[in-house]
Subunit: 326 residues, 3 copies
């Protein structure tokens, strides 16, 4: 349980329009309007141009990010560190907190109120759902969620969205297929919610026991988006503009024969890619453990490492924006 | 046991007057004269003004701090990292040493002599009493202690002193009450020693079994300072200019009924604060685990988060001073 | 086993002449020609002058190093961090990977391809032989090995070479004695290979069961270098220009009486040093655990801490060189 203590501010989770991001927390994909997303996408584009041209800038010189990870996540923490450094800022890396006294007894609000005495912005990864919103309520400095438990992972969803836009050149009119464990993956949940803002058809491809939660499917449908479900990637491969793959974990199946029966439906191979559109994007939040064959890596449609790179630009955009320097 | 090896220099623990801090080690509160404390307080004031005005400076650009923590202490290490970064310097974070080869076999002097080949100043946290002095004896670069075992934690004492000064506007003439586990807390020991330099009345508020060590009480009295002892905060709450709270740990009591009988005397509540002076400071070295009720946080006299912030300024002052840039 | 996946480039391990280091990987001592070594030595000299004169430079401002350590090595990682920071660059410290998800399942190539989306150069320490070459094959950014298992540790060998040059003023014509566990020590293996490039006589001083592998001795002899073997340091102490000491570990001996019988041959004492040349260098890769008596530390010929310092300059040289800024 997260100790709530006394809240000091109200987190602005309601959609905003064209509002400056300055001082805002980034804790949920629900907080973004379509205008917000356009704004972040534009700044990310600028960051990409900047990094490719000169590598780095002094925009956040003298600013400090506290990178507070209550559970290890090397790739996400590295991405935020690089984003802050390429903006000219510094990072206090607080990893392995699980082994330290911070995790013993002290409430999350006290830890946050301590760190904001040192830093200008706090990135928080926490194993408990809602931890980022609690942190945001107490902090006077901006909080950016780097994932809380099975809850939200908003910056992953934003970089996914930016990757789709950047690979396909548009968002409206697309057919996006999400593949794999759609029941437990916070990544696909966050992305599906974000995509409701666009005229996008969604296909959910999962084994029976790992289907998207009914409530979330309803949310998407309520937003007026067309939704389809199937158990096989081959049903969508020829038509999808985006195939977003996540891992189907053996451990999720009580009956291993069930797993053996379906696992082949979810591995992306060169043979399968041969049936996909000429222009489409194959995405994966990584790490992969067999869901995409290595032989697909050289396919120009394999977008997962560009997706990693986009994470850098989107996080640079967010850091600059909440610190009022975008 | 700390391997002493061959000492290469003598640590200047004797009080100095108006002497430059350049190149000095910070290993004990005993090393500071009243003039030294005034000097650090002034520089800390300047650092606060600087951070509030522009956030950071380039004073220590090109300088490197090796932050060597043999035991985890997220808040202290983060404070030193932020201090160095706000001064424009860089940090080599060496945490989790307990899991690494540094802790296997190599003597502390060899580790220190290695790190000073890379860094300009070394901050050392070590579980053994006296480790900082051993390190200081071998190092040619300045060593700053970040706490060694139940021994000293000089920078905590300095930030406590600075907070008292900064909250009350003066040091001489005050009544400072220290509350909680006064037997085992190195924080209160260091602070009490430092306060001997001022015309300060001290009250020690603790359960019978957690009273201040007799020798330390004598040190304070020998310095000509008035001393009182009691078991209840309510005995001092109306008169004290400073209430400095530390934790009373259940584990210290052999008889839990004893703990239950006294624990209520040491929790600071809004009701208790209602009886305190209008202008006073409630302090705590943090983390707290129930000693101060969350409802007290919004009281303007609750100084513990400003105390955290002051840690940043005092550590900036010390780093700049020992590197000759204050 | 390291997953090889699909290689994307061929690592240039064949000797090169006067070729720019720009974009090259540093994965093996076998890749260096004599000209390469001269080049690195010159840049290291410049870095030393720079650090001693002004402490740091902005040469790599805006550049990021990913310091990826799959096993802890505080001194090597600190050395690379300091090197990057003194060049004005930033570091993503990725330590304790063994506890993180990076080590769970993801292939090394995927981890490397992820990190190169964030960083400009990757330093890799890995417990498996050949890991650096695998990483180099997949990376488009330069990989610098910080040691892979019992395999190579090229930057250690380069700093050893630079130290010999810098202590004795030359390399050709010297007599270098390597002492201790010559069977298992990757440090001496790498150094012996590197020294083949020079007209250097080598003596290998080790207990019978810890002698240099026959194949490596042959490699040295094939290069036309004079080679001698003995079991006692006293056989070489009077003539050697360099005594390079490594640890003889008790655990290597099945029969402890054997260990007790020989261990005295390998401890360097002031008495032994009294018989050495006036101008010579006593070296050790550190950490030491009793191989060199502390009383030797003040001997001007004790070069092991200067060796540590040289590690900084050599790594600065390598970083600047592979990033095209030397």
């Amino acid at each position: 349980m997260i100790d709530n203590g006394n809240a000091r501010k109200v987190v602005g989770l309601s959609p905003t329009r064209n509002q400056s991001f300055f001082g805002r927390d980034i804790v949920s994909v629900r907080q973004f309007s379509r205008d917000d997303l356009t704004y972040i996408t534009q700044i990310a584009d600028e960051m990409r141009a900047l990094v490719r041209r000169v590598g780095a800038t002094d925009l956040l010189k003298g600013h400090i990010l506290a990178n507070l990870f209550y559970e290890p996540s090397t790739r996400t923490s590295s991405s935020f560190i690089a984003a802050m450094q390429r903006l000219g800022g510094s990072v206090i890396p607080i990893h392995g907190v699980q082994y330290s006294s911070v995790s013993k007894g002290e409430s999350l609000p006290d830890t946050i109120r301590t760190l904001e005495c040192y830093a200008d912005v706090i990135v928080l990864r926490h194993p408990e759902v809602g931890a980022s919103e609690v942190a945001a309520r107490y902090a006077t400095k901006p909080i950016i969620s780097a994932g809380d438990g099975v809850g939200e992972h908003p910056t992953q969803a934003l970089l996914d969205l930016y990757t789709i836009y950047s690979e396909l050149g548009a968002l409206d009119g697309l057919h996006v297929a999400m593949v794999g464990d759609l029941k437990n993956g916070r990544t696909v949940h966050s992305l599906a919610r974000l995509l409701r803002n666009y005229d996008i058809r969604m296909s959910f491809v999962a084994p029976e026991i790992l289907r998207l939660p009914e409530a979330l499917k309803q949310e998407v449908a309520d937003a007026g988006r067309a939704v389809a479900e199937t158990e096989r990637v081959e049903d969508v491969i020829a038509d999808a503009d985006v195939i977003y793959v996540t891992r189907v974990q053996k451990e999720r199946f009580e009956d291993l024969r069930q797993y053996e029966a379906v696992k082949g439906y979810y591995e992306i191979t060169p043979e399968l890619m041969a049936r996909a559109q000429k222009k489409m994007a194959l995405m994966h939040p990584l790490p992969r453990v067999g869901e995409i064959h290595y032989d697909v890596d050289d396919d120009p449609r394999a977008a997962y490492f560009r997706q990693v790179e986009n994470g850098l630009y989107v996080r640079m955009a967010l850091l600059a924006a909440v610190l009022g320097k975008a």
